[in-house]
């Protein structure tokens, strides 16, 4: 664990979800978590900006959510993958497109790297 950042990031390509990241991403993750309720999903659909404002998201966070920049949300914003999956579900982006974006690949490129390309893998 780094004393300066409090992060345990010695594994390349990995952002361990530390307390510090959880603190940084609390509003973002709280917004994402809220989408486990159907009525909240509907409210978000109706007015994405207003809904995210209600959770106190910054302009940067709102922009990255809209851009589906999962990589930035996780690496720079303290986003937790399990919470962000609920945001992805709103736009039909399951785990595979979310993962491909983080790797800088298309879904097709990513699928070529798998043993058995199961499509329902959320």
């Amino acid at each position: 664990m780094s004393r300066e950042t409090g992060h345990s990031d010695h594994i390349p390509g990995t952002c361990v979800f530390t307390g510090q990241r959880s603190q940084q991403g609390l509003k973002l993750n709280s917004f994402a978590f809220s989408l486990h309720k159907a009525e909240n999903r509907e409210a978000y659909r109706q007015d994405p900006d207003g809904y995210m404002d209600g959770y106190g998201l910054s302009a940067w966070e709102k922009q990255k959510v809209k851009e589906k920049d999962w990589k930035a949300l996780i690496e720079e914003g303290g986003g937790n993958i399990y919470m962000l999956l609920k945001v992805g579900a709103m736009t039909g982006d399951g785990l595979v497109p979310i993962g491909a974006q983080q790797r800088g690949e298309s879904v097709e490129e990513f699928m070529k790297t798998r043993n058995v390309p199961l499509r329902q893998n959320m």
Binding site: S8, H10, I11, P12, G13, T14, C15, V16, F17, T18, G19, S22, L26, N29, S30, A32, F33, L35, H36, K37, A38, R41, K71, I74, E75, N80, I81, Y82, M83, L85, K86, A89, M90, L95, V96, G99, Q102, R103, G104, F110, T113, R114, N115, V116, P117, L118, Q120, N121, M122
Partner: protein, 285 residues
């Protein structure tokens, strides 16, 4: 009295729940996974399991980081099926046993000094719901009473593997001091290798998965001192949840009868299953 009959280690990959609900059991990509559970389910029925204590982690279904318990025990008679963001699965509410759960709570907190969060309401997450219908009948209702036991493996600092091992031992003590004739399986869920974020998304390690399965069966204590960083390095960051299996294994006799194992590595996660019989309980039968 209560008997600790068996332990099960199982993955809880969410896509398995989707495939199950869509009746993909015979699809070529899924058959190796679903067929692997058939002997497990049949054996659990044979040995007359009445109760399952399921150690799992919630993924933002019922618990959030505003207040995040390290260990949370369900003490209800019924647990609703969670909506994780894409609708609840079509499963009957999980059937609990509040009396048994409160007994476990008393034993774990007072006798074994585990400081638990005790939940009279708890919504079920795929961590528990993926393996449960693969191991027990659920139509028209569940054939087993379930005790959900949630472990934090998301937000560091996490409990140590050693603590989970001790938890397993405490669970055995608690089960064996129950006055009624319950026959219990402890199920540890999670893993195997997978990483779901960062440039290392998609990391899998079948060598480590197989080594882990060997060691959890034959030499589980060799796993209890492995630091979190090493679990993450070998299996992927999210695969640190593999250590939850130690809570299952710690509940069993050091030597176990190995009933069944399955392993499949299709897509994003190593999918493992092991079925272990307690030798003390089986010898007493």
């Amino acid at each position: 009295m209560g008997r600790l009959v068996a332990g099960i280690g199982s993955s809880h990959v969410p896509s398995v729940g989707v495939a199950f609900d869509q009746n993909q059991q015979e699809a070529p990509g899924w058959k190796p996974l679903f067929d692997g559970y058939k002997p497990a389910k049949a054996w659990l029925k044979d040995v007359g399991i009445t109760h399952a204590i399921v150690l799992y982690n919630d993924h933002g279904t019922d618990f959030f980081f505003d207040k995040y318990p390290t260990f949370a025990l369900g003490v209800a008679d019924e647990y609703p099926i969670g909506d994780e963001g894409w609708g609840a699965r079509p499963l009957p509410a999980v059937k609990g046993d509040a009396v048994f759960s409160w007994h476990l709570a008393n034993s774990l907190v007072v006798e074994s000094e585990f400081d638990l969060t005790i939940c009279q309401e708890m919504v079920m997450d795929h961590g528990l719901l993926v393996p449960l219908p693969l191991l027990f009948d659920h139509e028209p209702d569940w054939s087993v009473r379930t005790v959900p036991f949630q472990v934090n493996v998301l937000q560091h600092p996490l409990p140590t593997p050693h603590r989970l091992w001790k938890l397993g031992q405490a669970l055995r003590t608690a089960v064996e001091s129950y006055p009624d004739d319950v026959r219990v399986v402890v199920v540890g869920t999670g893993g195997l290798s997978h990483q779901l974020h960062g440039d290392r998304f998609g990391h899998m390690n079948s060598d480590w998965d197989k080594e882990f399965l060997d060691r959890i069966e034959d030499d589980p204590e060799s796993l209890v001192d492995i630091p979190h960083d090493e679990w993450m390095e070998r299996g992927g960051a999210e695969a640190v949840e593999m250590m939850v299996w130690l809570g299952m294994r710690g509940a069993l006799t050091p030597k176990v009868n190995k009933i069944h194992r399955n392993y499949y590595l299709p897509m994003l996660s190593g999918m493992g299953l092991t079925v272990l019989e307690d030798t003390l309980t089986s010898a007493a039968a």
